[in-house]
Amino acid sequence: MSRFSIFSLARNAMSWHQNWPSQWRSPEPKPEYDVVIIGAGGHGLATAYYLAKEHGITNVAVIEKGWLGGGNTGRNTTIVRSNYLWDESGLFYENAMKLWENLSQELNYNVMFSQRGVMNLAHNLGDVRESVRRVNANNLNGIDAEWLNAEQVKEFCPIINISKNSRYPVLGATLQRRGGTARHDAVAWGYARGADAMGVDVIQNCEVQGLMVEGGVIKGVRTSRGEIKAKKVAMACAGHTSVVADMAGIRLPIESHPLQALVSEPMKPVIDCVVMSNAVHVYVSQSDKGELVMGAGIDPYVGYSQRGSLHVIENQLAAAMELFPLFSRTRLMRSWGGIVDTCPDASPIVGKTPVKNLYVNAGWGTGGFKATPGSGFCYAHTIAKDEPHPLNAPFSIDRFITGALVDEHGAAGVAH
């Protein structure tokens, strides 16, 4: 892998950038791998990376039906935070946060992780109560969290409307200063490049169409490019997990919904942090290009088409205008949708399945981008050792049998 730096950039500029190598190969699938990962989103690629890096398992293929990073990884609004309520989630996401803090250096790829602070607004007394509860839980878990009153909110984000006359006045907010955003494509590309350099085959335009299971043990995958044998198979296919799991006869407690996002035309900076509001259903940040990046809740119906309905966007912009009246004269430039995999308790599933050597990583819903490094790290451990890492043990599929749910609706119901 040729290292990226200002020096290599300058050196390559001398030769008009003709000599940059490909960031990854385009290999033909081999007949057999130690591990086949289904889905080259951030989670699948990170898993391959950590399998190679942490566990020395490099005979790995990541199989992607489209282009790498083209699922939710390349469609999300890139909010990263770790201020989850319950211990299980808080510790899991905090581990991811620590990995984020070093990710550009780790991957030698600038993923533009920008810790500009994430505020979650409170608009009623119930919100306030829940916010304080979360701040206290975070603090006791060693996760940075602060409670801001309305004036402090305004100080942190001057364009926000804290008028008492607005429909749902801002009463305060939780703030995680270490939260922020990252460049989604770079995360996928950086992991792909890193994994590829250690020998992982990232195979694009190859759809998994069947799982080969014999006597309760996974044997490989059937793909649009033929059969590929594997000692272990790991799903990381987000919105399509139910479809793929069904190929092995596994029914998951997952519903897939469209989730939309949008950007405005690029403008000079107006907002320097991430603001989220569950109560009025909108969240916003401004990208380094100057676009306002916004999202809301899921489209209510289930489906697999990566597009949503306009009224969801209209409602979300109305909500945004209450909070940020000055947005009115900017324009919607692009909108899109992804398919998110939601679990009944708004927490993911990472672990083993009833089929031996088949693993599942899914249910990230509206908020799995922030988990990417941590998910890959723990999932790789789970696959390599055939048992979960302590951090993802609570997120086993068994919890839907035992009832030990990790209900993060309060913390993640709409938000990301």
């Binding site: 950038h17 003709q18 960031q23 429909r167 749902y168 035309e265 912009l317 945004a320 309060g410």
Partner: protein, 1006 residues
């Protein structure tokens, strides 16, 4: 300033009507009918902006919504608007505009120094650097990038304009009012079908507005005028100008953004909504969205003075504004010869047409030759000069594969290039509708292929570039669309006659060579103008493994600027395909997504902003009374509830103390009208409730009430409330205020999906009833006075029953239920009697010193009794057992929702978090709601948390603070001391029963 480039022609402008405007601080004159761009062209101003990254000077490239260069900040103050396209801004008197993203001015832009480093600023360079030292990303690099990014500036003030929404149905929706669209609308309109015709331009006519076509022997615009007149005369036709159809969703749902007042400028009548978003549901759609001319990708192809050919033609023909003094036409097809001919006719010097094709022997090239224009074939522009305005070009012969220069270079002085790389049908909406495209080799463009909705494409959008065929297609499609929606016989009216000119095929050369290999020398081949993306960037992307068109787009940012790739996408993917050695259709396009052109946020939000309109505010009939009596309000869901009623000089604490004591000592009154109420009827109603609630309902006698818990399937409490049996098959359910809608959804979901065989009907009646809760030891006396006919004795009217009767002269239902623990009655009357009843209670209660109390006091009183509030003491993770309410689960019932979860390993644990009371050592200290609990005082981080404080109050009746909490294994730990943590503060607390007051329940019966 005089309009040096204004001619005496111009079919779309009125030269007698002068309009003054200011651009970049200088005063100019334009005329009525001008756009800002055409007025600037008429004044010889082409330098209108700077590029995003390297701040190169750039000129007006197009005349329409696809403009990537002329990006404008319009006006100042609260009506200022960033990023508008000069090509779409209609000129009005006093208009003030300036270029965006250049400092100090468009003429001298400091950041143009970036150009020096442009060799470093290749596609994706930022992924490769700015990583060391790590700390500098947040402190230096990113702040620098953010400062440079972005185009225009948002005004800080609140938008003074209003916006609205419309919803409408039609049979035939025609999008685009060029010749094909007009023909379609005429044909459909004649059938009597409801037709909508919309166009983003100021006038109908489409491409005919810009050209000099002849229809039926007359100038085409005369035909347009008569067609429009005919359409205007039809009542069944709605015409929308300045209306951009921006989204095509499922089931022929089309969204249109209409700009209604922008052309009046800031002086527009304030009562008019500035923009309107239309939502049309059409039976049939006809797409006549035309096509966009494609730029040629040649060396240094982005300089002021370089323009798309047909746009130059439009400026001359329509606006009477010549794009320059002396220009050359650079083309790979015949259409641009029309431009050369028209411009010469308009008085511009066009010495030469440079044609990439080896032969140009069509009708139009020959006419051009006759006009004395030199036609140089097999040649291309290989270099250009001039920074703020094009000065000269170099041309050379090109090898037939388009790979290299073969002959000597020839230098020609000119201030304008009019280029044409062929035409891209505007298939955006077609693609949004999920229609499938195909690549047409001969026309070198993507065309609609397979429709997936009830839609037809006509004219240039379908690749039909000749006028006669476009008119005929339009007529046919309009008639068929009408027929398919039930109108007319599908017979197309005769199309008018245009002059048919046969055009020869184009030759696609996607990158015109220069004197050094592309990307390996100073000359740049721009593909995405606004984002500074060059052919070399795309080649680099391919080299670095970005083989998918989506990767290329994201890596280079091609197509992600404000024009969303209308000009760049096809060129970009053609270059990528060549680099990968693949055919263009194998690489494919990126997905087309709404909006077609950017849509104002305010318009999308519509009227749904500004307080009450953002979300309906719900108020009870007694709201005015509360307001008059000084209540402070608390929002609960959409409701405004009275929170407490401070008397002069009282703070919340004092008011709540007074209210709480008043109820316990005398009588209090609460407006409980916001409680959700659902009327449930049907022969299976009791059975339904038996499944919905955890307790038994079948034998509840008529006239009785019962408190119930609803669980989700996981066994966790989801809502509670009292439900009363009004009749054998008739129940009145109450829910929490915030949970009402969710409960109704829940009931319906089960009725519709799980138990469709049950005959049960649920109707929300929340707003039909006003509910007054009257409680306290004096409540009975007051009720007896209010309703002398009714017997309120414990025997006649026991706890958990309800009675109907006349109360204060109006029919009422009175329920004997209590959320305070004291004797209490809930009077329900029709909502129009609510205020009357309240006032009557206050009047008759005066002698008992009746005290109105709000939600805060209600919370305190119920907490004194340990009654939970769903959503405050619970969060979806508590079973009834966790709440210490095992009694509410009917052991004998075969099933109810959530029951099977009780046997789950984790759900049946005995050491789950359980509801307890907490007492502080210091009686005055009120814990923080949301404080986290630990068993031990000092804990490492992460600390093992065992629960949290859910409710905490000062209890005036106990003269002690009280709290409710969820504590792990709490039921087994009564009397133990644990620790509450709130943002650094640690408080020692004792676990006690959550029933703090009247533990024997003696006050209930008065």
């Amino acid at each position: 300033m005089t309009e040096k480039f204004r001619t005496s022609h111009g079919t779309g402008v009125d030269r007698s009507s002068v309009i003054n405007f200011t651009f970049n601080g200088k005063a100019y004159r334009g005329v009525a009918g001008d756009t800002l761009a055409s007025a600037l062209v008429a004044n010889g101003v082409h330098l209108v902006g700077r590029s995003f990254k390297t701040h190169r000077p750039r000129g007006i490239l197009t005349c329409g919504s696809e403009e990537p260069n002329a990006i404008i900040q319009l006006e100042t103050g609260p009506r200022s608007e960033p990023n508008l396209r000069a090509t779409q801004i209609e000129l009005y008197e006093g208009l003030i505009a300036k270029s965006v993203n250049c400092w100090p001015s468009v003429n001298f832009d400091v950041l143009a120094v970036n150009g020096l480093a442009s060799r470093l600023f290749v596609a994706g360079f930022y992924y490769k650097t700015f990583m060391d030292p790590k700390s500098m990303w947040m402190t230096v690099y990113e702040p620098m990038i953010r400062r440079m990014a972005g185009l225009g500036v948002l005004p800080r003030e609140k938008d003074p304009d209003t916006y609205d929404h419309m919803n409408e149905f039609c049979e035939v929706m025609v999008i685009g009012a060029g010749p094909a669209g007009l023909a379609a609308a005429l044909a459909a309109g004649k059938s009597g079908a409801r037709v909508v015709l919309c166009d983003e331009q100021v006038e109908f006519g489409g491409s005919l507005l810009n050209s000099k076509e002849i229809i039926d022997g007359r100038p085409a615009l005369e035909w347009v005028a008569s067609a429009v007149a005919e359409l205007e005369a039809m009542d069944n036709v709605r015409l929308l100008k300045r209306a951009n159809a921006f989204g095509y969703y499922d089931h022929n749902y089309i969204t249109v953004h209409e700009r209604r007042t922008d052309h009046f400028g800031p002086g527009a009548k304030p009562e008019l909504a500035r923009h309107r978003v239309w939502h049309f549901r059409a039976k049939q759609v006809v797409l006549a969205t035309g096509s966009h001319e494609r730029p040629l990708v040649f060396a240094d192809n982005d300089r002021p003075g370089i323009m798309l050919a047909a746009s130059g033609q439009a400026y001359a023909n329509r606006y009477g504004a010549l794009p320059g003094k002396r220009g050359v036409v650079f083309t790979n097809n015949d259409s641009a010869y029309r431009v050369a001919i028209d411009l010469v006719d308009a008085g511009m010097a066009i010495p030469m047409v440079i044609d990439l094709r080896e032969v140009a022997d069509g009708e139009l090239p020959n006419v051009a030759r006759q006009k004395g224009i030199e036609v140089v074939t097999g040649a291309g522009i290989v270099a250009t000069e001039g920074r703020k305005r094009l000065k000269a070009i170099e041309i050379a012969q090109i090898s037939s594969d388009g790979e290299k220069i073969t002959g000597a270079k020839r230098r020609i002085e000119c201030d304008t290039i009019l280029m044409s790389g062929g035409w891209n049908p505007a298939v955006h909406l077609f693609s949004q509708s999920i229609g499938k495209l195909r690549y047409d080799e001969e026309k070198a463009c993507f065309l609609p292929n397979i429709s997936s909705q009830k839609e037809r494409t006509v004219g240039a959008c379908k690749g039909t570039f000749d006028l006669q065929s476009a008119l005929e297609e339009g007529m046919a499609a309009g008639a068929l669309a009408a027929q398919d929606s039930g109108f007319g016989k599908g017979k197309a009216p005769a199309a008018p006659k245009a002059i048919v000119v046969v055009e020869k095929p184009l030759k696609a050369i996607w990158v015109v060579p220069t004197d050094h290999p592309v990307g390996q020398g100073p000359r740049k081949h721009f593909v995405d103008y606004q984002h500074d993306v060059t052919a070399a960037d795309i080649m680099l992307a391919a080299r670095e493994g970005m083989h998918s068109v989506e990767h290329m787009k994201r890596f280079t940012t091609t197509g992600m600027a404000t024009d969303q790739g209308k000009l760049s996408n096809v060129n970009g993917l053609a270059i990528l395909s060549a680099q990968l050695g693949k055919a263009i259709p194998q690489v494919g396009t990126t997905t087309f997504r709404p909006p077609y052109t950017p849509v104002t946020f305010g318009a999308l939000a519509g009227r749904g902003i500004n307080g009450d309109l953002a979300d309906p505010v719900r108020r009870t009939p007694m709201y005015s009374w509360h307001l008059e009596h000084g209540a402070t309000f608390e929002p609960v869901g959409q409701w405004q509830r009275a929170w407490y009623y401070p008397k002069a000089g009282e703070d919340m604490h004092a008011a709540v103390t007074r209210e709480s004591k008043a109820l316990r000592d005398g009588v209090g009154i609460l407006d409980a009208s916001t409680l959700g109420k659902i009327d449930i009827q049907g022969k299976d109603a009791a059975q339904f409730l038996n499944m919905i609630y955890t307790n038994a309902w079948l034998k509840l006698p008529v006239g009785s009430c019962r408190y119930g818990f609803m669980l989700k399937e996981d066994g966790m409490v989801f809502d509670d409330g009292v439900t009363s049996r009004l009749g054998e098959n008739h129940f009145h359910m109450t829910t929490t205020t915030g949970g009402a809608a969710g409960v109704l959804d829940w009931l319906e979901e089960y009725l519709q999906t799980e138990w469709p065989d049950l005959e049960v009907y649920c109707t929300s009646v929340t707003e039909e009833w006003s509910t007054l809760s009257i409680g306290g030891p004096k409540a009975r006396e007051l009720l007896e006075e209010l309703a002398p006919e009714m017997d309120f004795s414990n025997e006649a009217f026991p706890f958990m029953t309800w009675r109907e009767g006349d109360v204060a002269g109006v029919p009422a239902r009175v329920f004997r239920i209590s959320f305070t623990g004291d004797l209490s009655y809930e009077i329900n009357v029709r909502n129009w009697h609510g205020l009357h009843m309240w006032e009557k209670c206050m009047e008759l209660g005066a002698k008992y010193d009746i005290t109105p109390y709000g939600t805060e006091t209600m919370h305190v009183l119920r907490a004194e009794k340990g009654f939970v509030i769903i959503g405050q003491d619970t969060d979806g993770t508590q079973t009834p057992q966790d709440l210490g309410m095992d009694w509410i689960i009917a052991k004998s019932k075969a099933d109810f929702i959530g029951r099977r979860s009780f046997v789950r390993e984790d759900t049946k644990r005995s050491d789950r978090k359980q509801l307890v009371g907490l007492m502080t050592e210091n009686p005055k200290e009120v814990l923080a709601e949301g404080a986290q609990l630990t068993y031990e005082r000092v804990n490492p981080t992460p600390a093992p948390m065992v629960g949290h404080v859910t409710s905490a109050y000062w209890s005036p009746n106990l003269d002690h603070s009280i709290a409710m909490a969820m504590v792990k294994d709490g039921h087994n730990r009564m009397g133990q001391w644990i620790y509450a943590h709130d943002r650094g503060k640690v408080t020692k607390v004792k676990i006690v029963s959550p029933v703090f007051y009247d533990q024997k329940g003696e006050r209930r019966d008065g």
